[in-house]
Symmetry: C2
Subunit: 274 residues, 2 copies
């Protein structure tokens, strides 16, 4: 358990200038969460910076402990109190010690991970994304951000996709991680024998996405950055699709995040503006 | 002038095992091109790696000098000879000394910059991109790559956009830099008083891009990552457009590269698949 948190729980006190220093041991315990192993063990993740903290406080994610410089706490004291957030004022020096950012930004939060199951009811009537071994945290974050923008109902990650709560992935969602349902599962475990919804996958020999009239519900599988959709998942693809290049002689393919943005844009257009 | 190149020009010789070492002075002269100032002065840029070199050799860009490990030279000797490329074999140690990549990849080329003027004839009948102070080399590279995919006829950069020949930008185009017309100019200098083509710009109050029927020719202005379209260029926007989010309550905006991918996808769809 988080034995280090109870050691410095603070309730709001009249003297706002009270500023506890972090002990060496506290810094050690907090920074241990920079590693995936400890995040998994403690079921926590790290959220940093003013903008991310604002989105977090407006979400239903549970906050384990919030550390911030005094100015930020003064500005946000009402929200912290009404939400019942445990917090501690720290100075810039301590913030730098625990932060993962090259330029730490006022606030650092330990947040409880959510353990969500795939929601099968969303496979019909809306679009879910399945991420098949996406490895780059920046790509994952960007895809979560795009999913939020274009109204994807949930994102399901393969077990070999980069950790959802990787700090770089979290930060690059720009807050969208608090708005999109996320789960982890093997594709084989969410697709039944009597599958009634289409499973789309980007493949070279696929149908032109701009002409794909049934691209309004189901699952869109996004393949790995280098290898595309894994062989074990290829058999579940019922509808192969592609983004046609302007010139058929085009050699390169679009990368995972760019392709996702085009597919999701086309989904939204078909869904809302057709 | 490139005084350091003439010092080690090699013609193809029978003894392929000939491998000249780079002198300290040569390494110094080559690595000086890591800086923009020297690239500007010498009108050269750096291209690295097997894939990029392949695309380069298939393009009409002029090669000043090519350095590569022997294995690569053996494999590509016919192309080098038929194209009349000056080259020199080097070992991995020397490659590492001159490379900008964390993992140098066999071949390192000095290429002559092209000084292109905006082509006004392309503003009607096709889409040109105008980049208004794009600052991140990775974003620039991605946008060039997208432009190539979706058939943009030319990219014109504002003088305060990151250098087209920035090595990181060049590498992240994945070769598309050799296929898209690039120029630099102020927007005011390319838009005349009797403008007959639309100038599109992404703005919050813009028209829904999915419904924008005239989005088939003209100029699309892409604004700076943080500040959007600059105030001096706003007055040239004849057609404000936006990518509508799924939920109108959405707080964040898409980043420059993601927005570009959606706009260009919509351009291609309208142009070819409507």
């Amino acid at each position: 358990m988080l034995y280090f948190v109870t050691a410095f729980l603070h309730t709001v006190c009249e003297d706002r200038s009270l500023k506890a220093m972090l002990s060496k041991n506290q810094v050690k315990n907090i920074t241990s969460l920079h590693s995936k192993k400890e995040r998994d063990a403690e079921k926590l993740f790290i959220v940093e910076g003013e903008k991310m903290a604002k989105e977090l406080l407006a979400s239903d994610f549970e906050i384990e402990m919030l550390f911030a410089v005094e100015g930020w706490i003064s500005e946000n004291i009402d929200t912290l109190q009404s939400r019942g957030v445990e917090f501690q004022g720290i100075d810039e020096g301590d913030l730098k010690k625990i932060s993962l950012l090259s330029t730490p930004n006022k606030v650092f939060v330990l947040v409880k991970q959510k353990q969500a199951e795939p929601d099968h009811s969303l496979f019909s009537g809306s679009l879910s994304l399945y991420l098949d071994a996406i490895r780059d945290p920046g790509n994952l974050g960007t895809i979560i951000r795009l999913a939020h923008w274009f109204g994807v109902s949930q994102i399901i990650c393969s077990p070999d996709t980069v950790e959802i709560y990787n700090p770089k992935a979290v930060q690059s969602t720009m807050g969208s991680i608090f708005h999109v349902k996320l789960a982890e599962a093997e594709l084989t475990d969410i697709i039944g024998d009597e599958n009634k919804f289409p499973v789309f996958g980007a493949l070279l020999e696929g149908d032109n996405i701009y002409k794909k009239e049934n691209f309004t519900q189901g699952i869109l599988v996004i393949g790995n950055e280098s290898n595309g959709i894994s062989s074990k998942n290829l058999k579940f693809i019922s509808d192969k699709v592609k983004i046609p290049p302007f010139s058929e002689s085009h050699a390169e393919s679009l990368n995972a995040a760019m392709a996702t943005s085009v597919f999701l844009s086309e989904y939204l257009r078909r869904k809302k503006y057709f």
